[in-house]
């Protein structure tokens, strides 16, 4: 499975949303992406990619797209 697909799966499994809804998805756009959902998403990404995210990156992780750039800091490149 590609890195991008793993990234997508973290969102769809955490928030129970369709892949087609992710492109413009931002924090608090949906009820599931609240502060608790945000922590669940961060935990899912850390587990999938074997990383530990810094607090500043967790705060900056405000959308599906923004997250892609942040993941680059952890050498997680979307292919």
């Amino acid at each position: 499975m590609s890195t991008l697909q793993n990234y997508i799966n973290a969102f769809t499994s955490t928030f129970l949303v369709e892949e087609s809804d992710l492109a413009n998805l931002k924090y608090q756009d949906i009820a599931a992406w609240d502060s608790v959902g945000h922590m669940s998403l961060m935990a899912a990404l850390e587990e999938i990619f074997g990383i530990e995210m810094d607090i500043d990156d967790i705060i900056d992780f405000s959308s599906f797209e923004a997250g892609k750039k942040i993941m680059l800091k952890y050498n997680v490149k979307m292919d």
């Binding site: 924090y27 502060s35 608790v36 945000h38 922590m39 935990a43 607090i55 967790i58 705060i59 405000s62």
Partner: protein, 158 residues
């Protein structure tokens, strides 16, 4: 507050200082065994003077399920609220799963609650509690509990 992992018990004053439940919903009397960030064992003694017995039920008093749940979760949250950095913080339930009620609890029963903290990260606590009366299983459940004061530190910018 617990300053290190060697303290082994909490009396009612310490429980009140460490968590925010108060009468009539403070539903544990003491913690008899405590390893911060790992486990806690709580005790709740039920007498007929409890506020819920006359209503549940007048002809057959027994402890309501929601009260049993509270004894489990209140013991559970003390596994981390006993730490100085979290002491006194409010908690919110996120989920309760795999609930099992195995025994009717009646006036005179002493409930022993054993809580285990499986993980605590960025204000999300995951674990479970089991309770017993005279060594017999009474109730159990899995918990996810959030600490909003900690979660708020990790909120994305608007």
């Amino acid at each position: 507050m617990i300053e290190n992992s060697k303290v082994q018990a909490l009396d009612i004053k310490s429980i009140i200082n460490n968590q925010r439940n108060r009468y009539p919903v403070l539903l544990i009397d003491k913690i008899v065994d405590l390893v911060p960030m790992q486990r806690a064992t709580g005790i709740k003694c039920f007498t007929y003077n409890e506020w819920f017995f006359p209503g549940h039920f007048d002809d057959e008093p027994n402890v309501p399920g929601f009260v049993q749940m509270e004894t489990l979760v209140q013991t559970f949250i003390l596994t981390f609220l006993c730490k100085p950095e979290y002491s006194g913080m409010k908690t919110n339930g996120v989920s309760i799963n795999n609930i099992r009620f195995k025994k009717k609890i009646v006036p005179g029963d002493v409930l022993r609650i054993e809580a285990t903290l499986e993980s605590f990260k960025r204000g999300i606590a995951i674990g479970y509690s089991e309770s017993f009366v005279d060594g017999e299983p009474a109730c159990r459940a899995d918990f996810v509990v959030a600490v909003p004061e900690i979660l708020n530190k990790f909120k994305p910018k608007a």
